[in-house]
């Protein structure tokens, strides 16, 4: 008898724990993936060097996923993140090299451009009441075209940047800690995610972001200024993408208008694998970081085993579907 009752309650308790701490699932998957590849590949994979390499490889996606998380928590989606990122990086580069601005000022201009792009998204979503998917589908194309027109498809070489405007590569600088190598970009990603986790959990703004995503009408009636919340979220997302653009210059050394084309899909993938509900209002930003890391660990692990790169996409696809299934199951705790 006792056993008969034991099993369902254990499962229920697990379901409840996951409901309360939504980033638990991706954390478990991440640790399992690391353990699995440590077994399959061996010490080469489970070294400080390889593990910190994963961090370096996911830094751009991780930063963009943080921006994407904010938007998705409000039940929106931002398809323009990659375009904002690359446009901002191109502005930073071209303002320095074409117009001769001091690089510090050019960086500031790039950040402002990202912020402005986000503001445009936010105004269209909040005041024109257009679906975020449509708004950002449009602005994605607009920002990307602006990027190509403005950059004239020119790449600024890493050597020129290093010689004349090293601050553009600021996030690419690294320091060593034991066998691990950390770039400032990685540090920025970690601080950003922790800072946003704090803001979402412990400030009124954060609670309002969740409330708007959960039920916008209820939030409005409870006295939340939903328009202001939406605008703040999209604007902040744009600014974070501009920082991602800056980090991108550090990562690839150069300013290339063709980079970052898949950042929107990659960031949404990280967010979904991270257990954040696409319907809004549920999930933790730490989950998005774990999601990005899972993709990074699986990619590096499979590549170190020497498998066909196609398998990476295969497993990421499976992970996405499993993540959504788990999300559905956790939601059932409510009923």
């Amino acid at each position: 008898m006792a056993e008969f009752h034991e099993k369902p309650t254990l499962l229920r308790r697990m379901q409840h724990a996951l409901h309360v701490t939504p980033s638990l699932v991706p954390l478990i998957v991440l640790l399992a993936a690391i353990a699995l590849f440590a077994l399959l590949v061996g010490g080469r994979f489970f070294s400080a060097g390889s593990q910190s390499l994963v961090l370096q490889q996911v830094q751009i996606v991780g930063i963009v996923a943080a921006a994407q998380t904010l938007v998705i928590l409000t039940a929106g989606i931002d398809l323009s993140v990659g375009a904002i990122m690359v446009l901002s990086s191109v502005v930073m580069g071209q303002f320095t090299f074409r117009y001769g601005l001091p690089p510090e000022l050019a960086v500031l201009c790039g950040l402002l451009v990202g912020l402005g792009c986000g503001l445009i998204n936010g105004l269209l979503v909040a005041y024109m009441k257009l679906p975020p998917f449509i708004v950002t589908l449009g602005t994605w194309q607009v920002f990307l075209a602006t990027n190509f027109l403005f950059s004239r498809n020119e790449t600024i070489r890493a050597q020129d940047i290093e010689a004349q405007a090293p601050i553009l590569q600021f996030f690419g600088q690294s320091f060593r800690l034991g066998g691990a190598t950390f770039t400032y970009g990685v540090v920025f990603m970690l601080i950003l995610v922790l800072g946003l986790a704090y803001a979402l959990r412990h400030t009124a703004w954060g609670r309002h972001v969740y409330a708007v995503g959960d039920d916008p009408d209820a939030a409005q009636l409870s006295g939340v200024n939903t328009k202001r919340v939406l605008i703040s979220v999209y604007t902040l997302s744009g600014l974070i993408c501009a920082f991602a653009g800056w980090a991108l210059i550090g990562r690839i050394g150069s300013v290339s208008p063709t980079s970052g084309q898949e950042a929107n899909i990659q960031s949404i993938t990280a967010v979904v694998i991270g257990g954040i509900s696409l319907f809004g209002g549920r999930g933790s930003i730490l989950g998005a970081l774990f999601g990005a890391l899972i993709v990074g660990v699986v990619s590096l692990g499979l590549r170190m085993m020497g498998t066909d790169p196609q398998w990476t996409y295969f497993f990421i696809g499976v992970l996405i579907i499993v993540a959504v299934l788990v999300d559905q199951w956790i939601r059932k705790v409510a009923s």
Partner: protein, 338 residues
């Protein structure tokens, strides 16, 4: 509303009438994308040649690499416009062959640029770089530079993408042939068993992909000392990865393309040698072929011994080695694109 529709219909007819009323020669240039500097240069070359010959040139492109829907639409538009010739850089070698056939049935000269169709004779002619030769040149150069050490080389291959498009296979296998590696099946990347190969990874032909692929392969074997790259942006990315681990000075990076940033990277010692191709020539020669065809129906001929017209490839090296013909960086910079 109705008047508006009728008005725009009238305007359309007027425009169409004006277009078909032209008695001059017209041509189409359809590229993969409008964003890649390679195609930008190609369009410049085509436009200059067309202006010189008094040909009206229409430009089309897909939105992304692999967007053959847009290319099919472009071909249909060109047929409707009654052009004399189409210069086409196919996004997908096989997918748009039937549209190309429609154009040929309409009496249009179709020349594939850069990327051959499958089968290659689906177009009247193909004006392209010999990509196998481009790979072979840098492979040969790398082996000559290493001398006896070539027997102990540890080589990383940074390819294009998982679907192994023709250009990817030709350059990769060409490099192996030039270096002296048994390629087994020359149509497949990755079936070789030479112990000097550390591994293959894909880059999508950009900096980010180049860096990631280089990092992945370094994780597999940190002693890599030769890096083959599909193109110069991926080479720049690979260089960043090597620099991060302090190995940028003792690894030789080889690449293909000959774009201006790439040649500059050869001058700066980032890339040891690159094979330069000539998109401007492809387009210029293509337009000239269309002009001849429109004048008297002459079809372009292939380079002897090849099933396409070879627009040439040259090796650019900052430090030339004996036995491998190369041009200097200065010469390369004069001929570069992008």
């Amino acid at each position: 509303m109705k008047t508006l529709l009728a008005g725009s219909a009238l305007a359309l007819i007027a425009v169409a009438g004006a277009a078909s009323a032209q008695d001059g020669i017209s041509a189409c240039l359809i590229t993969k994308t409008e964003t890649n500097p390679f195609f930008v240069k190609m369009r410049e070359g085509a436009q200059a040649a067309a202006d010189a010959a008094g040909i009206t040139l229409y430009n089309y492109a897909g939105q992304i690499d692999g967007d053959h829907e847009s290319q099919v639409q472009a071909i249909e538009t060109c047929i409707a416009n009654g052009v004399d010739g189409i210069l086409l850089v196919p996004s997908d070698s096989s997918a748009i062959v039937s549209s190309v056939q429609q154009a040929r049935d309409a009496g249009i000269l179709v020349i594939a640029l850069d990327t051959p169709l499958n089968p290659i004779d689906a177009a009247h002619s193909t004006f392209a770089t010999d990509n196998f030769e481009a790979g072979r040149l840098i492979g040969q150069y790398a082996a000559a530079r290493l001398g006896e050490e070539a027997a102990n080389a540890k080589i990383a291959f940074l390819d294009l993408n998982v679907s192994q498009p023709t250009v990817d296979v030709l350059r990769d296998q060409g490099f192996m042939t030039g270096f002296g590696i048994d390629v087994k099946d020359p149509n497949v990347i990755g079936d070789e068993d030479d112990p000097r190969i550390v591994g293959h990874d894909v880059t999508d032909g950009n900096e980010e992909g180049g860096r990631r692929a280089m990092e992945n392969l370094l994780a597999r074997d940190p002693d890599i000392n030769v890096v083959y790259t599909i193109n110069e942006p991926s080479a720049a990315g690979a260089y960043e990865a090597l620099r991060a681990v302090g190995r940028e000075d003792d690894v030789m990076i080889l690449s293909v393309d000959g774009g201006c940033p790439g040649v500059q990277n050869v001058a700066d010692g980032v890339i040891a040698a690159t094979s330069q191709q000539y998109p401007l020539d492809m387009a210029r020669l293509g337009i000239e072929a269309i002009a001849r065809y429109a004048a008297d129906g002459t079809l372009p001929e292939n380079t002897p011994g090849k099933d396409f017209f070879d627009t040439g490839v040259r090796l650019i090296a900052a430090e030339p080695v004996e036995g491998v013909e190369s041009i200097s960086v200065e010469e390369g910079l004069e001929l570069c694109w992008g």
